[in-house]
Each structure stands twice: as C-alpha cells, then as structure tokens.
C-alpha cells in the first residue's frame, strides 16, 4: 500500500510532557478549555488527511504544530511547480518529489514530537476501509468528486467524523459530517457531469483561500478532539474571499440518502469513477515508487 511511518530520531514518546513540550504547547495549555488534559487528548489523537495539497497542507501543518499525535497523509502525486503558489508544505527544492515525503519532512521539521504516517497511493475502494479505520477523524482535502464521495462513504461506513472543505476560484466551503447527522450525499446527492464544474487546475484558485479553509478545517478537528465549542455539523460555511463575507447554510440529514438515510442502499464502497463518470486517477510513477521504497 506504500505506507510508511515517520518520526524524528530521538523524539520522546512517553506519557508525561517534557519541559520542552510544555513550553512548545504552552499557548494552548494555558487556555482553560485545553489545559494539560486537552493537550494529552491532542497527543493521543490520530487524524487522516486526504490530500497533501492546498487544503491538506495547512490542515496537517496546524495539526502537527498543535501536537496531534499521529497524522496520516494520503497522496499519490509529486510536487509540481504550479503547486507552490499555495501548498505550503512543499518548497521549490521539492519539485518532482512525492508530496507525502516533502510533507512528512516539513511536518517533522516543525514538530518532531508527532508521528506522520504516509499512504503513498490514491485512496480507493480497495484500500479506504483499511486506512480510514486506523484514525479517529478524517479530513477531506481531495481535489475531485470521485475521491470526495469515496472519502464520505468510507468515513461513514467506518463510523468516523469527516471534516470537509473545498475551494475554487475565490470561494471556499467547509462543513463537518458526523455519522448519522448528514453526509456529503445529503448535501449533494449526485456529482456534476464530468467537465461541468472545473477543477482548480482548470479554473484557478486564490492561494490564500486554501489557508483560510484549511485553518477552519484544522480548527474543527481540534474542537472534535477536545470536545469543545459548537462543531460545524449541520452547517455549511460559505466563504467569498472577494467580499470577505462568511455565510452559513443548513445541512440536513436526508432521510432518502442512499448512504445514511432511513433505508440505505449503499452498504459497501462502490466504483466511484463510474459513479462520477470520470477516468481512474493516474498515479505518478515517481510517487508510487518512492513511497514503496520509503516503506
């Protein structure tokens, strides 16, 4: 599967926080709703980030900085020069390298106390129900509809909360799907015909909006782990970077939803490329080989 685990040499793993960790996390730990107990919850948590790109970069970065104990990254792509306008885990020298490797290095450089698991292949119907159950929470930073429906279905079938975000042009969206309280299929029952809704590569995306939405997704992960605040469950946050307006729409669980409705018809993962009418993802050769070697 191309999985690998990264941890900085000599990184402490014990249950007590070292003085260095206490200092590192002090701005979180001094806040009442977090405190040492909350910081321990963060360290004991595991979060899977699907996609190490525009959204996955800021999400994974803030999770690592905060000391989320185990971060999983799923990505099969290599760093392209056009990624560097927004994908903050990768740098110029990383062009051509597998994203999961440059992302892992960046995260461990920021915080050697966390573990970064890399899954260097596309998330598919064959591996999603093996990978996702290994984590507490799933974050969606995918860039295509097939992977979005796949992540949605696999997270629901695994009983995991999915923290969703998407971006295009100057727009951003974010919401949280908690099993039984609505899902991506409730929000959008069917994908658009191929080619109707452009991708970021086709239409463009403001680099900074990825940071806005990714930071919101990371914030929602923290709230889920810490059990504080009002989660973005049942609400879809819409962000317009040009007017800087944030609006909120309701997300309801659809009783007719084929996945989480009253009489579900989807009980296992399906062929999402067929569902979305898209060709299977092409794995960059360099990414798959490098990930395999790393494992």
């Amino acid at each position: 599967m191309g999985d690998a685990e990264g941890r900085a040499p000599g990184a402490p793993q014990g249950s007590a926080f070292t003085p260095e960790e206490v200092m590192r996390y002090s701005r979180h730990m001094i806040m009442g709703p977090v405190g040492p107990v909350g910081q321990r919850k963060l360290r004991n948590a595991s979060v899977l980030v699907v996609g190490a790109g525009g959204l996955g970069s800021p999400v994974a970065l803030y999770l690592a900085l905060a000391g989320v104990g185990r971060i999983g990254l799923v990505d099969f792509d290599v760093v392209d020069l056009s990624n560097l306008q927004r994908q903050i885990l990768h740098q110029t020298a990383d062009v051509g390298r597998p994203k999961i490797l440059s992302a892992q290095e960046s995260l461990l450089a920021y915080n050697p106390h966390v573990t970064v698991n890399t899954h260097g292949l596309p998330l598919t119907s064959d591996n999603a129900l093996e990978i996702i159950p290994e984590y507490d929470i799933v974050v969606n930073g995918a860039d295509n509809f097939a992977t979005r429906y796949l992540a949605n279905d696999a997270a629901y079938l695994s009983g995991k909360t999915l923290v969703d975000g998407s971006i295009l042009l100057f727009d951003g969206q974010a919401t949280v799907y908690r099993p039984g309280e609505g899902c991506y299929r409730c929000l959008y029952p069917a994908p658009p015909p191929p080619g109707l809704v452009p991708s970021c590569a086709e239409a463009g995306v403001l680099g900074a909006i990825t940071g806005v939405v990714g930071s919101i997704q990371a914030t929602e992960v923290f709230k889920q782990i810490l059990g504080i605040g009002e989660p973005l469950v049942g609400r879809l946050l819409l962000i317009d970077a040009l007017t800087m307006e944030f609006r909120m729409m309701r997300v309801r669980r659809d009783p007719a939803c084929p996945l989480c409705g009253d009489a579900p018809s989807i009980h296992e993962l399906i062929d999402y490329d067929q569902f979305c009418g898209t060709p299977p993802l092409a794995v960059a050769e360099g990414a798959a080989v490098a990930a395999g070697a790393h494992a």
Binding site: D143, L168, Y188, P192, V197
Partner: protein, 92 residues
C-alpha cells in the same frame, strides 16, 4: 417580488459575471424564469430540461435548502435571498 440572488463563482459567468443581483419571482421557479429571460442559458446551469433542479446544485432560500421546502415551488417573500451553489471539488 424582488429578492437578492447570490451566485457562486463557478456559475457567475452565466449571469454576466455578477455574484449578487436582484431578481423577480413569487417562487423559485419564477425566479429562475426571470434569470433565464435576462441571462439566456442560466436555467441549464441549475436545472434540467424538465425544470428539475440538478442534484449537484443546491438552491437555498435564505439558509435553507429548497429541497427540504417545496423545491422549485417554494414561495418567496420580499427581501428574501436565494443562493445558487454548485458542488465544488477543489482541494489542491
């Protein structure tokens, strides 16, 4: 019945590159008719030939998805806002 219409970036081209505009109608269907009359081609962005809303485009009356109201028959009141929001898949 004048309402404020918000259009997501991805379909703003269909309404002359506007993100917010005023439109008339006592229902969602009439609102779409008004927009189609002024911006031919808009209807195809949000509904099929039978007038049914695309399943990948959400239409909100204020903050509520009209699928959970009366769909395109949902009544509009003066001062309402209606948002057209296609699914986005971008993450990279």
């Amino acid at each position: 019945m004048a309402v404020t219409v918000y259009v997501a970036s991805v379909i703003q081209r269909a309404v002359g590159d506007q993100k917010q505009l005023e439109a008339e109608g006592s229902t969602i269907a009439e609102l779409i008719d008004d927009l189609e009359s002024r911006y031919p081609g808009f209807r195809a962005q949000v509904s099929d030939e039978s007038g049914a809303l695309h399943r990948f485009v959400n239409v909100y009356l204020n903050d509520e998805d009209v699928r959970y109201l009366q769909g395109t028959g949902t009544a509009l009141s003066e001062g309402d806002s209606v948002s057209f929001l296609p699914a986005l898949a971008g993450g990279r």
